[in-house]
Symmetry: C2
Subunit: 150 residues, 2 copies
């Protein structure tokens, strides 16, 4: 099973990347790193891929659980090494869910994504720490063993 992306240089630090899906994404460095800010930073794309991956999982799992999602956003905050290479060491993911969703089912969906389905999460070496805010209120992680189902 393979996935392919081709990335083309456009001068200075500006690139465009196109995957097999046909979608093109612009990439650039910030001005103080010699770039012209014509696109997202490469490391932002890793966090975007991670949030998109787990977001797709969570919407699909909650749909199957018949939990009506009204809104969802996911914030990723990645901590990076100070020294080069400045890899992510820890990534905190905050899932903000609005809807008549049971807290235990929301956590169950998040754990299923992170532990079983999310290919992006499994491709990154950083420790990933999830958080849930449901209808504006933080809900502590019940832990894997305490989830509502199984």
């Amino acid at each position: 099973m393979e996935m392919r992306v081709t990335t083309t240089w456009h001068g200075k630090r500006h690139f465009s990347a196109t995957g097999a899906s046909g979608h093109t994404v612009s990439i650039d460095a910030k001005p103080d790193a010699g770039g012209e800010d014509k696109g997202a930073r490469p490391m932002e794309l890793l966090l975007m891929g991670l949030t998109g991956c787990t977001g797709i999982d969570v919407t699909m799992i909650l749909e199957r659980m018949r939990q009506p999602l009204e809104a969802l956003d996911i914030e990723a905050v990645g901590t990076r090494r100070e020294e080069y290479p400045q890899a992510f060491t820890e990534i905190h993911l905050t899932y903000r869910i609005t809807g008549d969703v049971q807290p235990a089912k929301a956590w169950r969906a998040i754990h299923l994504s992170e532990e079983k389905y999310c290919s992006a999460s499994a491709s990154l070496s950083a420790r990933i720490v999830p958080h849930l805010v449901l209808n504006g209120a933080p809900v502590p992680d019940p832990g894997v063993g305490d989830s509502a189902e199984d």
Copy 2:
């Protein structure tokens, strides 16, 4: 050192992700996975981040080495596990360089990126295998110890 991205759900499997740089990227699943193909696949974004990261490094290093780059594209082919999570296990990066660039310097720039500077490469758990095609001809990897400088 932190980096932040916020990703918002737009129904079905469609998301938009915005980083601190202000650039927004659209993410979606393919139709046979419940998506509407309104954006790149999450796993493509990981490869895009990787190619952009090493591409920025290589252009910067070759500039410092006064090697005149005319064109550069980088192709990433990621092999994924068949089972879930379908993480990348190996990623082949082919650097296609056009210009009056010395082969040993091109390889030196690639090795410096992969081993020392590229934060995306260091954030991924897959084995990364570089290849060089210089002015249309493949140039074998001289190996780290055999590079022209140090």
